[in-house]
């Protein structure tokens, strides 16, 4: 099923991006001289097969999702295509085939580990625990844990969740923070875990829960896509410090990580990162022409100026 689900884009797509990434090129030339001797790991694999495989998410708006033509698009996808350009340059290839492979939160690790995908382009939180299993390149987004609720429910602060039913998605860092806050602030809230974000939001929509705790940017996209966006409010107070999202790659593959890090750093510092950001967060995006209207945060601005792959939220102030 996976093989038939792949969409193969031919090389001509990448040519367009070339001129615009002067900095990326400069950075990767340095790397290429150092690593030209013997290729290993992912780079060798890409050179041998002439193909690189990107893992994408089907509904992580606006990071990585399927548009109306069932083609994966998004902020993280654009960044990944820039990385592909850099890899192509690094390996001095005339043609590099880009294979696209859908992943879910459950399949991204095995598919990364067994070599099916080379980069995971989505909204995966970079934290220390996960770095034991995979590596992350420079952070492309920062998001804090907030909650969405119906205007009609009249919630004001986290304390108003006392004794209410609150939903979050199972297995996320958000539900962990919610559980901690519940104990710490003695809220006595009834926490229910939902299978995925869409379902958790449905619980708020159908009044099964008063609030849904999640990364604020994902809440913004769920609200924007709902039937009556004006019915919902996203809280001001947060359950956590802003946490970094990163594009995931295989662990212990230093030469590949070096190329990817150089490419993303060049992209972010050149101001083009900001341009891509605005394209996905400040203007209408497919398929429904939603506008998330989320200006770049101070933290992310700093991150773009000084790219970092740190999993520690304190490093992004």
């Amino acid at each position: 099923m996976l093989a038939s689900g792949r969409i193969i884009l031919k090389g001509d797509k990448e040519v367009k991006h070339f001129r615009s990434i002067g900095l990326a090129l400069a950075a990767t030339f340095v790397v290429s001289q150092a690593g030209a001797a013997e290729l290993t790991g992912t780079l060798k694999n890409i050179k041998d097969t002439g193909a690189i495989t990107l893992g994408f998410r089907d509904s992580s708006i606006p990071f990585s999702y399927l548009d109306d033509n069932q083609k994966p698009v998004g902020f993280a996808m654009d960044i990944c295509y820039k990385i592909v350009d850099a890899v192509k340059k690094e390996l001095k290839l005339d043609k590099l085939e880009v294979k696209l492979n859908p992943v879910t939160s459950a399949t991204r690790i095995p598919l990364m580990a067994n070599g099916t995908i080379d980069l995971e382009c989505g909204s995966t939180t970079n934290n220390a625990e996960r770095q034991k299993q995979v590596a992350f390149t420079n952070t492309h987004f920062l998001t804090a844990s907030r909650y969405v609720f119906k205007k009609s429910s009249g919630l004001k602060s986290i304390d108003d969740l006392k004794g209410k039913t609150v939903v979050s998605t199972a297995g996320t860092t958000n539900i962990k923070q919610l559980t901690e806050a519940n104990v710490e602030k003695k809220l006595g809230a009834n926490i229910i875990p939902a299978k995925d974000h869409a379902e958790a939001f449905l619980m708020v929509e159908t009044d099964r829960a008063v609030a849904f705790v999640m990364d604020d940017i994902l809440l913004a996209s769920l609200v924007a896509g709902s039937k009556n966006p004006s019915d919902y409010v996203i809280s001001k107070d947060a359950f956590s410090k802003p946490e970094p999202y990163g594009i995931m790659l295989r662990k212990d593959d230093a030469p590949f990580k070096k190329v990817v890090d150089a490419a993303t750093a060049a992209l972010y510092t050149s101001g083009e990162g900001q341009k891509i950001y605005d394209k996905w967060f400040m203007s209408k995006i497919p398929p429904k022409g939603l506008n998330l209207n989320t200006p770049i945060s101070e933290g992310l601005k700093h991150e773009f100026a000084k790219p970092s792959d740190s999993p520690n939220p304190d490093d992004y102030k």
Partner: protein, 243 residues
Amino acid sequence: MNYNWNWGIFFQPNPMGTGTYLDMLLSGLVLTLETAALAWVIALITGSVVGVMRTLPSKGATWFGFAYVEFFRNMPLLVQLFLWFFVLPEILPKAAGLWLKQLPNAPFWTAAIGIGLFMSARVAVQLQAGIGSLPRGQKMAATALGLTTVQGYRYVLLPMAFRIILPPLTSEFLNTIKNTAVAITIGLLELTGQARSMQEFSFQVFEAFTAATLLYLLVNAVVVTAMRFLERWVAIPGYITGK
């Protein structure tokens, strides 16, 4: 494969602050067993009633049994749970719907009842087949002895029919246990749900699902063995199912 194996992960504290990762999986296992047990009781009781109805001489009863079975067995379990959990409260009157939504442990009750009803259709079909496999003479003999229909089923037909269908009922019981995994769709954190949580927190996906697989295998092996004993215990010497 570039994978960082860490079998010690089970003894590390889980991020929910409820003990170790193993504790997390075991709490999921307990929920799986509770859901499966309640669902199986519901399946056996309703399944038996409907199964008997399908063999009654009454046209109405047969028709009801037929409609019931076709309704519950022709829809994917996932869809049924979704309907019970999200759609039913919306079509009820507002007050009743709200009451249903705010019920504590709603995912557990919905899952147990939903899976129970789904499995009851399968139990009903098997009981019908079990009764159908008995020689016609048994029913006639019961009537000739002056037993009423209820007595005939209670003392003659059902004791034999249930013995005949015990082996397939074992499979249905195993299916009930395995079907509880579908309940993560309505937010029940049973064994599969906890294994998924564990892999999201720790990124140790293979360890998490290996443990879940072994726990399912273990539970099912216990059930199969117990049912073997039950079969032997209730067997009647000289009859088809006896030795």
